[in-house]
């Protein structure tokens, strides 16, 4: 608890005022304790970080077959994700595709999109990874 003695006194007087005739010592104590808990709770609860903004890199690979690009892009557009860049290669029977996707307009969080894409990956029998762009920027750009 961070509240000073003076603050606690102030809160106690407020509680007595609000409680009026009902102000038994127990009731006051309970009210003050609740108030302090709420306040210290506010002080230490971190704000949720801005996790959904920005771009992610989608990497997918597996055995080539019809419908992979369609499956992936359809799911992305349904989630309001904007494909900003796309690079795709076939190496032998192997399909690889890398996309830079802006998910800031999506109503879903990265985690939900990841789960959804993993499901689609399973259907298409390919691997799909979504990672925040920063990790690539930090590793490969100084």
């Amino acid at each position: 608890m961070k509240a000073s003695e003076e603050e606690i006194r102030k809160i106690t007087f407020e509680a007595i005022e609000v409680l009026g005739a009902n102000a038994s010592p127990e009731a006051v104590k309970e009210a003050v304790r609740k108030k302090l808990e709420v306040e210290s709770g506010e002080t230490f609860t971190a704000k949720p970080g801005d996790t959904t903004s920005g771009r992610v890199i989608l990497t997918s690979f597996g055995l080539n077959k019809p419908g992979i690009v369609a499956g992936v892009t359809k799911a992305l557009s349904e989630n309001n994700c904007d494909i900003q860049d796309l690079s795709q290669k076939i190496m032998g029977d192997f399909f690889t595709m890398i996309m830079i996707v802006d998910i800031s307009a999506s109503q879903k969080e990265l985690k939900e999109i990841q789960t959804e894409m993993a499901k689609i990956g399973e259907e298409l029998k390919i691997k799909i990874y979504l990672q925040h762009e920063d990790v690539f920027r930090f590793m490969h750009r100084i």
């Binding site: 971190a46 860049d85 890398i98 990790v135 930090f138 590793m139 490969h140």
Partner: protein
Amino acid sequence: MPYEFEEILETIRMTEIEHFDIRTVTLGISLRDCHDRNLEVTKQKIYDKILRYGKNHVKFAKEVESQYGISIANKRVSLTPISIPFDAFRFEEYIEIAKILEKAAEEIEVDYIAGYSALVQKGMTNGERELIKSIPFALAETKRVCSSVNVASTKAGINMDAVLMMSDVIKLTAEKTKDKDSIGCAKLVVFANAVEDNPFVAGAFHGISEPEVVLNVGISGPGVVLDAIKEAGKVDLQQLSEVIKKTIFKITRAGELIGRKVADKNEIPFGIVDISLAPTPAEGDSIADILKAMGVEDVGAPGTTAALAMLNDAVKKAGLMASSSVGGLSGAFIPVSEDQGMISAVQAGHLSLEKLEAMTAVCSVGLDMIAIPGDTSSSTIAGVIADECAIGVINDKTTAVRIIPAYGKKVGEFVDYGGLLGKAPIMEVRTLSSEKFVGRGGKIPAPSRSLTN
């Protein structure tokens, strides 16, 4: 595209195939304001404070994990060495504190809570003596609490009285936890030149000059380095050093990013990145395999120490370039039980305790997770600790001993803890006596290099 195809695939390969992970995000919390002369009040203060700062630690770490696709293997807490704020307490009270630490750790779901520690390189207060005596009992009654004691430093020399005391503590800890292969000893480290911001357990503690609360991150990835060395093929050692540095540079950058994000979410300051190649029992996640890929037939072959020295140095150099917040131990760890390659080398008779000792002179820590016969005398253990301290003190580096005199077990048997702690073959220890030497007690004076002013 702003990134090359190969760059993206490299990152994916590191995170998905080569076991690159953030080994630990460790929340350091100061307990210096938690003392009260009433034990119950003290316990409540400790519990409240750990919960206040730590309640979202695991949750936030998991969020960052999925956001960046890099796994964070462990979420931990380190504390002010318990003997400092609670110096007025005695034996039983310290054990009570250990129990409340366990309870808090369980509540916030961290796997280890470290800092049941004392810094006694120059001498002991009464409280420190009591804490050290309580260690076997505290470790026997808890699962998550880790303990460390610093008994030597380059500035102060080696406190041989403390070394002797610690060897008895280690023996008793082994006995107290004999039902679980003396697991207590796996959570107890004896240090020379301990660092204040080490995020790795069991030796982590929140140093006396650290802020109120801080987030330190420990990065690992032997698998990534191993594959890079294999890929490099037949190149000379200078080029090989470059390969290691480039790889480490990249994973340090990624690690710092992750650490800062977890710290931001917790709204606490970011401390340091500790880039330490720490093996796990998983296949390919081995320092021994790296040394073998560098060219020695097996760990223990002549040349092993040189290979390890080069690896350790390359890791440090790359870490320093990649981040201005490099700290902790930063280098290569060579625990035996946690590294499949080390275990095989011991079993094959290629790696002895003496060779390991030489290797610790150039690696980042020391004799780590080594099981020895349960009937090893405490004076012999004291001799081993003193040797290791001497290496640290003279070379101005951190060294540590985490040794397990496995109760009731002999050479050829195993202790098996599962998980990250792995399984250790019991190693042979010389039975030549060091009793008269260590029994003299007192202190080994600080070396001439302590006078740098």
